[in-house]
Symmetry: C2
């Protein structure tokens, strides 16, 4: 019998998140105050986040217990399945064995609820009434709206204008879960009004949407802000992915040789990779760990490792990370979740330590892998994880050439049911791989603040 799925019982679900920092040879550099350039303390984040999340942001503990109320929600879809990609392997003619951890079974259809649920829980515990956030592709806004509904919080989402106009069904899904969606830039904030004053039909950007959500949260003591990637506590919450995958690989009797994931802000990749990195650092396995980023927004492979702002407007603390410059505007590729100018500081630090490698792949190669995957495995992937799949296809074809029977493990972080316009563009030949000129990279990098 061909075995496709490796499932765990609800009782086998991890009950604690894993923090990779204590296992690293050195800690990541701290965030700095944008004015003084001094390391910021936890209290600087208090207007935006509840103290429980700030504590997780800076914790030195290796493990953090997952609250029972969060576990109870996780069990709606977790443990998520690990699949063996027999169909894809056969189509590629590879001796490699490919496993994918599938997070599309969650309510939002992606890995995002893994952190949206605890963020909503801790905010509700702290007496917060309302959460604000931004969303680009829409996965994060959907996840936070769902989590907010469960814990009785209001949820207001500023959606990047261009996405709001082009992907109306994402808005509807957020509203179905009870959230409110504003087109960004909006008249509701000073940041939005300033932008609209310059250009009434402004298409918006993630940076502007962040500014609007942060502004509203900072002004109302009953409101906090929630972020879907980049920060340490977000990466922490996502480690349930890798912890489950380790148990499932054991069920399958396999030891991974290569771990491949897509990287935008870095949370999905870290979620799978960090628990496996722990095993690697402990000498229990020795997988190559490889990030795949879009050629049009390649922060690891083309960026610099420097202190930079998390948002375009320069309102956040300075974080040391791989960045293309906070005013770099990526081409409008379909993988909206990968269009971020920087990489999570913790993941950037791990990259600097030489513990992971990275490649950049053009969009059309990713969609080719996505279509092949759909026709052989039955799941239409979101545009973001097609990057991971393109990386798997490259590795599997290399194994075909070399005859190596490598075990490849990847993260299929979401389905593409709300991204079919992108598949239509690909299938009808309208998708182009926009090349970024060296001058454009250089121009954006010049905007990275120089520290005295």
């Amino acid at each position: 019998m061909v075995r496709h799925k490796f499932l765990l019982d609800e009782e086998q679900m991890p009950t604690r998140w894993y923090n990779v920092i204590p296992d690293l040879p050195s800690p990541p550099p701290p965030p700095l105050h944008p004015g003084t350039h001094e390391p910021i303390g936890p209290e600087a984040l208090a207007p935006l986040f509840p103290m429980a999340l700030i504590e997780q942001e800076v914790t030195a503990e290796r493990y953090v217990d997952i609250p029972e109320a969060v576990l109870d929600v996780y069990r709606l879809w977790r443990p998520s399945p690990l699949y063996r990609a027999h169909g894809l392997e056969k189509a590629l003619g590879t001796p490699a064995r490919i496993y994918y951890k599938y997070e599309g079974v969650s309510p939002a259809g992606s890995h995002k609820p893994n952190t949206a649920v605890p963020q909503a829980y801790y905010n509700a515990q702290a007496g917060v009434r309302r959460l604000t956030t931004e969303t680009g592709a829409g996965q994060w806004g959907t996840a936070l709206a769902f989590a907010s509904a469960l814990f009785g919080l209001e949820c207001e989402v500023w959606q990047v204008g261009a996405s709001y106009d082009q992907k109306p069904y994402r808005r509807t899904m957020i509203e179905t879960f009870g959230g409110t969606v504003h087109r960004s830039p909006s008249e509701l904030t000073a940041a939005g009004r300033a932008v609209l004053g310059e250009r009434a039909d402004h298409p918006g950007s993630l940076g502007i949407a962040i500014s609007e959500a942060v502004e509203v949260a900072a002004q109302d003591p009953d409101t906090r802000y929630a972020l879907g990637s980049v920060l340490n506590h977000v990466l922490l919450h996502q480690t349930v992915i890798g912890e489950e995958a380790l148990l499932q690989l054991e069920l399958a009797g396999e030891t991974p040789d290569v771990v491949i994931g897509c990287t935008g802000g870095g949370s999905n990749f870290a979620g799978l990779a960090f628990p496996l990195l722990r095993e690697k650092l402990a000498g229990r396995m020795s997988p190559v760990i490889r990030a795949v980023e879009p050629a049009s927004c390649p922060s690891l492979t083309q960026g610099v490792y420097a202190y930079d702002f998390g948002d375009t407007a320069g309102m956040t603390p300075l974080m040391k990370m791989h960045t293309l410059g906070h005013d770099f505007v990526p081409d409008p590729i379909h993988a909206g979740g990968l269009r971020y100018h920087g990489m999570a500081p913790l993941l950037s630090h791990v990259y600097e330590l030489g513990l992971l490698e990275a490649i950049a792949v053009p969009q059309s190669e990713c969609f080719a892998a996505g279509v092949q995957f759909a026709r052989t495995e039955g799941i239409v992937p979101a545009p973001e994880p097609t990057h991971a799949l393109a990386g798997c296809v490259r590795e599997a074809l290399a194994c075909k050439d070399s005859g190596e029977e490598k075990v490849i493990v990847t993260a299929l972080c979401g389905h593409g049911h709300l991204d079919l316009a992108a598949y239509d563009a690909y299938l009808s030949g309208r998708m182009v791989d926009e090349a970024v000129s060296p001058e454009r990279f250089a121009s954006a990098l010049a905007g990275v603040p120089a520290l005295g």
Copy 2:
């Protein structure tokens, strides 16, 4: 610990389909030749279906073995999960315990691949090169395109024109799986050209799309036709749903008191209900079995039990079934999968035997239940199973009044990720419950052929 999911191992997946006919007190009436009004033999179906499926259509065996190649594909997503709806129960304040069997985990996002896969398999075994079919809401076309890709068949889908125009992403999903989509009515068939000759911008209908797909299949010896509901062999394939549910209810330690499903052509409902009906007929349990149909297309509660055509054009054999008349055109409700003028002949027969009951529910009540379900359980249901959910809510609220701790089991036959326009209509207050006048029912029923 709150237990949400009852999962089975791949080894526990049923290895045979269940045929309810031998367990019924009498067999269903046979289909008749439209000209002679004599019962038709298997050979009359040979131009459209391969012999293996025709044999299943007329078999008197209680069980039919599932081929190993079909089981191998089923294991991509089967066994599907059975969930306990703790969140919905709590929101309703009911002492009832609600379980839902979720088929949205399949590649097409619905129960349709359960029959698309064996239909593609048996056609491939018979040397068929191409399958044709119609699709309305799009779930069936998606499922058949996926199954065809796996078995190396071409798949051509005639999509009802109005759906083709309004739901472009369904077409893209079918194309992603490798299928070809034609807007119906098309210039490719005599049936299509005749309709277009009368009205160039004709919005199409399921009946016209069936005529086109059948015409193309009948004219090419390498092409066969595939139907997604109504026929005995389709209902047979869907019984994996109920067989798994029985094992999962045993895991949960429950005996069902009420079984509730939505009915369009009847395949999803029969898939859950027939194995439970077997247990009921054998005296091992005694659930009420209840079909929920849309108030705008209520074939069981408002139709007649009579011989009628399966398509609008009157090209098919006559089948004895509950029908609103083959030229009844339902209002354009959002549950496209429930807009069929008739009910599966086998399910109609079971209804006549008094073994199931039926209710009709207006659209807005269904969407209210769907939204409540999304916010409490995390899954956005397709419009079709919101009818089942509305039936569950009615039953659960009756339990709240009576204090009865009934066990309610329902079929959540698909997700609504490609139906968010319907949720937008509901949430924005644009959804209307169109009432069907008695005169309109009477007019359509007058078209049911009288048999001499």
